[in-house]
Symmetry: C3
Subunit: 341 residues, 3 copies
């Protein structure tokens, strides 16, 4: 019995193999390190004395360690084929394990909901557990900071848009994307049925986006809305405008959003920016800032760095502060290694 | 870091690689499309007003969308090796994600119970989550119709035979199969312990089959029985006879069964037939009909088509009616794409 | 569409492919056979008559079959890369399915918690779901007996040391190992927070080990301790000394431990030994014995054999007796096939 080795070099060594027309791709990354979160709390086993046996009794929320071992293992499983006419079909399921960030213990790996894609030229249609127009929007996330990407320019946004779920089943929706020249358009639709006082109502949500790239700058705008399903309650909506550009070693993004979730404490304008700077051959510095005008909008400010080790591995870390007008501020930080495979 | 590409063309390009003696195979398919089911119902979240927050409250069964996004992602994971003596060992676990057909939402992917196989010449022994003699019987399923194979000639059968479970743990049973010349024989045994009034009883089930192929026709017969475990209650049983043949572009199957499940509403004779016809190079037309003589036996009639796109991808769809003597009839239909990998 | 075949021979055929620098490895084994356990009990469905329908009612513990179909499917999924500086990063998740040993039914496959590794020269650091110093200790397990490895020399040990979990999330801990010449050192640390009467306490555990190899003999010693977290309760601890050697066809191990778990019925000295003997080219005979001086310490005596079929497949079996000073003795045995892939 010989060991099975499925590795990139092996296949690249078979020169002349330009493209496979059907098969299964495996890719992903691992990351692990130390994560610090001020005043971390979590639910742990509670033992009531005088019983001195360690039998699990009940659960209680207590202060857990501020610094814990954080980690993620992500494996993308992509089945694909290409028709005689050049249409590509893909199906993806993701296998992912994360630590339990409240207690610092480990979680078992899990599988998410499947996403299916049809790709032909500049047209792409996704179905199932899909990302919508916001989740796919150029520069929506900007330069997130830290091994765990714990801070981003979008922190003031509270609208629940259609997003790809890495650890759950996600929505069962459809996303369209069409790219032509410097323009790209996106749209998604997600049906949902729920009940109010026992009668079914529709809580469908949809979003659209447009993106334009000119020289080294990309501008994007997106709008999305969710049927509230309840008479007299306005439909929650979100409008986002982003700008991103690169000038040599410097990259930056700007973010403005109007958040109408029908919740006063978080509605209104959200804004943010982020920047990256390549310091020498292997080091990248990162900065991000996000905020909103409502009392409970989360403000995030963070700086971080990535040091490239080659081979798809890097050291990453960051430090930042989470705050809001009516919150206590909280310091967060992390440091560790990430490796792609 | 280079991307990992595990693909068929790459390995086929390494000429002279006839057979691997140990390793892991990945194969499967994705399918997605629109599924229609008249009067579809499902359990959804129920919100009680005047609370106008969208907090999940209780669950209630309501009418959901008749037309939903249907999908499946299936990946077979097969570990295998071959001994010096030419005996092949295999172990399979299946990873599968399906939509929730009651609500139209997505489900996360899951893993099923493992199946183990020993294969030597015409002899095959399966253990674990196995398919029994019916599930393996030639022409039992015939030509099922639709993207989701929603109709089949076996619709009047209600006996719970040993079947491979794609999404659950399945039974922990043994299946034997022996092929010699034009004949093939199968047998399975599945042990089960349960309790009646606190005392353990055996609810074992077994089945046997014989198959004979002459020219382009295959005839098969199978019988199976389950210990009821309760004194005075007869053992449920099932007898099935199938015939299948191919004549050029036409293929057809016949199905007759005697269903003795000790439930009057579904017992008695079940019958069905199915047909397929290749219309030109890429299109296949399908028809299936299944019925039974008991009041609650499900009658299914459906027509469908498959259009081959090449590369293992196809467009598929069907429309049919489900009915029974004491039921309201229900129209079902679907259409979508399937791609193998 | 061509079938995807990921197999060792294929890649070995591409001569000159010495080492891949990034990718995903799949490896594992399957095993299945008959397992016998005297007086096996399990929780099964209980039906209360006069209802004669097979509707699941409640669960009750009854005698189940002593001889059941046992099985395991194990797949290791290893993502890896190597930096320009020669540091190797690895992440592993294991997919495993086992039978339910109490009822003889099958379980679905599951995924465990992820383990991450950094390897450079003789240094290895593991994080996440790791094995600690005992679980990694040379000759700790010795020659375990049977298809299911149902008996081992360590049977008298009751300390709950840090171990790799194949079917659960495991601990979220760190393990260090350093090998230099004939010496190797190991250490692990596992943080845990729980609560006593609602207040958080630390139940951290740690262990250290040292191993020395001289000629064909390996000696190893390890010590580990767990914070009890409760004032007035001593910290449970374990000390282990092992010796192992090989002389031609004969291999043997010795095991002594001091078990201080603060539970009188199982504390004290534990000891054991094991042996293996290669009888001809394909057969290996195995023997193991483990015991302890406390009343409830488990004594295990077992003999077994492995017959190599080539290609990574083998037939394996064993028979043994479990006993303790205050227990009824129990005969256990198994026989079946195992195949690596």
């Amino acid at each position: 019995m010989k060991k099975v080795l499925f590795a990139s070099t092996a296949l690249i060594a078979t020169a002349g193999v330009a493209a496979a027309d059907s098969g299964v791709n495996f890719s992903g990354y691992g990351r692990f390190g130390i994560g610090y979160q001020e005043d971390r709390v979590g639910a742990v086993t509670n033992i009531v004395t005088p019983s001195n046996t360690a039998t699990s009794a009940t659960s209680v929320v207590v202060d857990t360690d501020d610094a814990i071992l954080v980690s993620r293992f992500r494996l993308n499983i992509d089945g694909f084929t290409e028709t005689d006419g050049g249409v590509r079909f893909e199906g993806r399921v993701r296998l992912q394990a994360d630590e339990d960030s409240s207690t610092g213990e480990a979680n078992s790996a899990g599988l998410n909901g499947a996403r299916f894609s049809v790709i032909y030229g500049g047209l792409r249609v996704d179905a199932g557990n899909v990302a919508g127009s916001f989740d796919n929007l150029a520069n929506y996330y900007g330069n997130e900071v830290g091994l765990e990407l714990f801070a981003g320019q979008y922190s003031g946004v509270n609208y629940n848009f259609l997003a790809y779920s890495s650890t759950g089943s996600g929505a069962n929706a459809v996303f369209f994307q069409y790219a032509v020249g410097d323009f790209a358009f996106g749209a998604s639709y997600d049906t949902r049925t729920f009940a109010v006082n026992g009668s079914e109502v529709s809580g469908d949500r949809w979003d659209v986006s447009a993106t334009y790239t000119f020289n080294n700058i990309t501008a994007a705008v997106a709008y999305g809305q969710t049927d509230s399903g309840v008479s007299g309650v306005s439909d929650p909506s979100l409008t986002v405008l982003t700008l991103g550009g690169e000038w040599g070693d410097f990259g930056g993004t700007l973010f403005v959003a109007d958040d109408a979730t029908e919740v006063t404490a978080t509605d209104g304008t959200a804004w943010g920016l982020s920047a990256s700077y390549n310091l020498g051959a292997a080091t990248t510095l990162l900065f991000t800032y996000g905020d909103g005008n409502a009392d409970a909008d989360l403000q995030q400010v963070a700086i971080g760095a990535i040091y490239d080790l080659g081979g798809g591995a890097s050291l990453r870390g960051g430090i930042g502060v989470n705050d809001c007008d009516i919150c206590d501020s909280q310091t967060v930080a992390d440091f560790g290694a990430q490796f792609n495979f």
